[in-house]
Amino acid sequence: MNSADRPRRRPTNSRRAAREGRVPVAETRPPVPSAKGAVEGKRYGTRLRDSTLTFTFDGVRYAARAGDTAAAALLAAGVSLFGRSVKARRPRGVFTAGPEEPCALLTVGQSPLVIPNVPATTLVLHAGMVLRSQNRWPSLRFDFASLLQVGGSLFTAGFYYKTFFWPTWRVFEPIIRHLAGLGEAPGACALSPPAVEHLSCDVLVVGSGPAGVTAALAAARAGAIVVVCEREPVCGGELEFEDSIVDGMPGYQWLARSLLELRTLGARLLCNTTVVAEAGDTVIAHTEPDGLPGDNTVYRIRAGRVLSAVGALEQPIAFIGNDLPGVMLLGAAERYAALYGVRPRGPVVLFGNHHRLYAAALRLRGLGANIVAIVDTRVDGELLKPEPTAAVALAQVAAAEGRDAAVALLRACGIACYQGHTLHAAHGWRGIRQVRVAPVDAPHAAFTIDCQSLLVSGGWVPQRGLPNASITGAAAGQVDLASLMTPAYDAGLLAAAALGFTVSAHTAPEGTGDPLPVVVPYLRSPAAAAEEKRQFIDLQNDVTVADLRVAIAEGFSHIEHVKRYTTLGIGTEQGRTSNTLGAGILAELRGLEPQQAQTSRARPPLAPMTLNSIAGQRTGAAFRVSRHTPLHDWHAAHGGVLDPMGLWLRPRYYRANGRDAGSAAVVEAARVRATGGIADCSTLGKIEIVGPDAAAFLDEIFLTRASALKVGRARYMVQLREDGLVLDDGLLLRVDEQRFLATTSSSHGLEVLSHLEHHLASAPGATRATTLPTDSRGCGLSITDVTDSWAVIAVAGPSSRPTLQGLLPTVALDRLSHMAFIDTEYAGHTVRVLRAGFSGELAFELYCPPVLAAVLWQALLEAGLAPYGIDALDILRVEKGYLTTAEINGQVTPLDLGMQAMVGQGNACIGQTLLARPAFHEEHRPCLVGLQAADGRAAFLAGAQIALSAGGTRSLGYVTSSVFSPTLDRWVGLALVARNHTSLGTTLWARDPLRGGDTAVCVVSPVHVDPEGLRMKGLP
């Protein structure tokens, strides 16, 4: 490398250059008269803007023009080494000019806020950007791990399946993991959620190259509402720079005019927008401005028709050393020249299998590139196929005077044309220095050409598009302007016509550009077996021809097996530069015809998509909905520690009562038993069942008969699933003959609602007495979720009745018996007063409209009652042996819970039949018991297992709930224990090896406190 080629590494120079507004290192750029300059009549640098900026790459400051991509700016600065490969740690440069880049991936930003694996080819630079190369240590130029590759040929496909298992993989894994991976793992992410926009249109056109714009024009002119998604920052595709004439004007002028017309017709042109997936009839697209996650937008587009005009991908050719920095796809080099004014470093050799090489050579030469040779694999006969006219000088010459004249013209320019030749190898260390070329039919007659750039083109394959879209343009195989415009226009018209639009009288534009390339398939140049390990197919994963040979030898010859075994095509570019080549070479190695090549199944999404964009708005606090009770704000403002219960937030305890949950809850629970307290129970599920059939219907739902319930009374009810296990429990209130209110546990509300509705729909009127149709579905009842219509405040404790009586003087509370309720008024709203509780105390539940909740709550506070939280509620209910989801966990039958009497009533409800299965009646089925520490002091925790002895290995059951009981001054619990070990007084062991050991426990009644229920009855 001579000194002129070396990037300037003196930051001061760069900074001065930046101040002066010039590109500091310009030897690979032509003189720049203005942003959109012209040399010899050619446009170039069209993406560049006049201002300049600086950025750093591996700590060195560089200057760039606004609009530059990282790849363009670094190439312009003479940088050719961009990173190292994963497996072989080989030096790698820039291979493409788009998102299909396999090699030049950068880490953007500073730890911990980094974005790894950003293709330098799509990253548009911003001032001050910090970029780093990947997969190298300590530096890009000298990588320690690359030394390991001296024996690199050991690491053929699947080598890690064959070794590293002695003594164990875990010994090697950390090293392998650190060598693998690509960019730095981000330590944090400061991205805000994307905007999410829903679009609706008639025709969605994906891609805005010549075909896309033409099709969009046709549809828009017919009156269709059109949306165009373009993944590049600007529309136009090849029209942006190709030498072309459309409708008598330069292609870029026609493009500008057409885009203006589209906008005038109401079309929406979305640049930087990649179509990612199809979700039914919705297309998911994703905007990531400047190629970096940031101000992202997710579009969900509903379109009448989708047209895919996503173009074609240029294909590489495999030869020895085809991964060296300096080897680049031809089309990429043209883009760098045209869009960013970066010409390939000279001397330049072109290598390919079609005649667009010649036009490209002249174009690049026009921008000052030093083209020295063209190597064309086609032999004479293949070259003489007719070539259509084109605007390009060369093509005109070729058409008028024949191929030899074209070659003569190139030779006159000093460009050697080697036809019927192939390129065997590229040589160099950190960059290409020399290529070895030989006639196709005489490999021994090889000669070398010195060069610094090698531009390769192996033809094109259509890009993958949405599965259900119609395809047009290069994606449909029409890779020249002249032949694609009419079909593309027709495709646009067809889409509009199919949606009922009248097709207008416009005609398709006519274009001429580069001639249709005559491609003779050529996948790889010949190589000795030992050299095949340097013929790269997948540049990112270092998959070589030799790897395919190993795979085939081991029987992995199907492409799906090859993909998994060799990692072919599973890189960040989703195999865009490797899948087709790999499939073709695989077929060749297996001795199959090229058309027999299998392609692997492409996995969605169509393009990589940022997780933050997929997550959309549902991140952070908006991750899942938060359900608040009507008293939420009060709890939050008064030291309530809010804890999730499903989607609900409930106060566990109040900070004023203790430093932690345990001590506060004990204080709160003791206070309820001593005097009284109030609790917010609004999260209880509430379902109203109304209609003439309601009682009969509920008889089928509940284990015991609802129809036996009297108006104004409530009852504890249990419902079973169809398999006979307990679904949920709660109170059922009969409001009048045809109106019931059922409460459910907080977490089961929706499930129970669905269960009721399902039964109503599945078995309408099965056994019901009346079948008066009350709605269109023929049902004599309606089921309504009224959870949010009622706030519920529990008022519990000895002082509950006098306090409440003070607030509700008109109700004779002393005559309200246990499980009776009455509706009254408070502050102009209905309040339903139910005498029941979950604490075993004299207690009431107040059902009121949500607007009244805070008023009522405040009045109760002022009357002297203090709030208690869910943890205190839990203490109170465990002391009384009441059940929650800790016991009703989907694994127990009503018999397990001691509900033999309820089952014994023989009500023919859901689940009774399957409850009769023998397993549910075996002696080791669980049985609900109470537990207390045998010594009266020790703690035992919910989740402990029950065993016969300390250290016992056979589980007899488990502790479902345990609390410290302030009433009994000891730990008490509930447990489900094998029935044959539950006689009262039995000593068992609560085994809790996870949390510190075993506790001897004694089986007692589940009702630890006040077994006679005297307190509940309000007796002393």
Partner: protein, 82 residues
């Protein structure tokens, strides 16, 4: 399949619906109804609820190999909607 056409609400995204079970067609006992399934591969009769909408229960006949909906009736109702 990413939408179902609710007879009351029109075509709605699938996430508004709740699949409950495949209809057994394997016998009339409670055991068979609860546990057994006959898999036809291309024909599946199912119960769905429009739980995120009008909460109607639907009987949907679908092809699980393609997602195509062959017919849909309101569960428990006599008339077929489509």
């Amino acid at each position: 399949m990413t939408q179902l056409a609710c007879p009351f609400c029109g075509p709605r995204p699938l996430e508004e619906f709740l699949f409950r079970k495949t209809m057994p067609n394997a016998g009339d006992s409670a055991y068979a109804r609860t546990y057994l399934r006959v898999d036809h591969g291309t024909h599946s009769e199912e119960q769905w609820q429009h739980s995120g909408g009008c909460r109607v229960w639907l009987r949907v006949v679908r092809n699980p190999s393609t997602g195509a909906v062959a017919s849909m009736t309101v569960e428990g109702s006599a008339y077929e909607l489509r």
